[in-house]
Amino acid sequence: MPNPPAGPPSCGGRASRPLWPLLLLAVAFASSALLAQYQKKPPDFGGIYAFPTPTHPEPRAAIERGLDVAMLAAGLGLAAYLILRRRSREGVVLLSMGAIAYFGFYRKGCTCPIGSIQNVTLSLVDPRYLISLGVIAFFFLPLVAALLFGRVFCGGVCPLGAVQDLVLLRPKTVPEKLERYLRWLPYVYLVVAVWFAGWGLPIATGASKVLVARRFLICEWDPFIGLFRLSGSFHMLAIGAGFILVGMFYGRPYCRWLCPYGALLSILSRVAWKPVSITPDRETYCGQCADACPFGAIRDFSADRATCVACARCYECCPREIVRLRREGIPAKRYVAGADARGAS
């Protein structure tokens, strides 16, 4: 079988961008948040009165919080290695299970980068609200990882995504038009969540004035927190069960159509330095990867940077990947029927 012509660099090629502008952007992000902690000091009226230092006791010792950050950083590094270098779906699944165990059940889903959006917002808006460096790290590390490698956080480290990924048993596709509309929901949710976290909802109607206090909507409506904590109100457990049930047929419904942090990551991953590249070497234009992707994230034989959650499923079905594995003497066991038969020449 003759080899098809090589495609553009984005089709399975190793698209890369200069690294330094992204690093500069990441440093600017991080430093702005750090400065925001101290930019609004209370006014000094003189006299002997000393303002009390606001304290927000953390539930964990400093060393344990450091361990959380270290685990997150290690998880992101490992995810990037497994997804981009090893190209191992099995490794990603194992990492996901580890993330569920540690960030999910052991840490009970808190602190998570998704919820940290609200902490960072409130700390920027309200000078009395201070957040720890750990929370800042949780907010920024996955964003930096997205700038470098795409949504590797979603693929292997996020416990919410991992739960949905593991329960995906009979993937079905959503009509493209509906999918296009649904993809706007995370951005809407992000704006609403940031607004509620920072300002609340003051409504004035005529003489009456309704004030809804600041609320952490993302945490209040986290569908899997009840699962990780093994307790919760009935409606939250029911919502979690509903997401799991839907997630058996439609890949990662929360990540794709609701997650506000996913919205941030998808914005940043558009300019990622080294994103997911499906084919290891030469593009065969067989379309197996697009068929295998349960998220509809592969268009024109390349992974859409914004929607690809770096789950590594496409590698399993790529004929060229099978050829690569054979060449390296790695047994290829679980592949979609037909991929092997159509292995590239």
Binding site: P4, P8, V167, L169, R170, P171, D291, P294, A339, R342
Partner: protein
Amino acid sequence: MSGGRLRAVVQSWGGLAAAAVALCSATWLFAEYVHAVRVAPAEKALVESLKERARTDATVHPKLLQPEFDRQRESLARRHAVYDRVGLVLLVSLGIWLAWFRWFRPEPGRWVGVPEGLQRLLEGNVDHPAPRSPRPKIRRASQ
């Protein structure tokens, strides 16, 4: 029964047993919750009425109100124990079923004793959408 056949039987039925346990646990939890929601207002009203009576009758507290408090507390403790234990059983059995379905299901034709209709339901591609029929390669114009 030979070891191989025993293993095949366990592999065929293990996941189904886990699914049955999960289903029973979920039903039990849901029934406990519904029961609690139904009786809670009546129990609260009973305690309130007993409190009202206890204001004028000193014998009501030791004879009626305290025993009712104790009964409700025991009932609550029992319900919480059910939630904790059965919830854990539900979680573990769901995990076992999921792992079985993804990784340990028998290959097609190796099921033992499982009705054919159920086999058809449980077989098939996991994790990926069903593969489509082979289609001709799309050749792009050379650039």
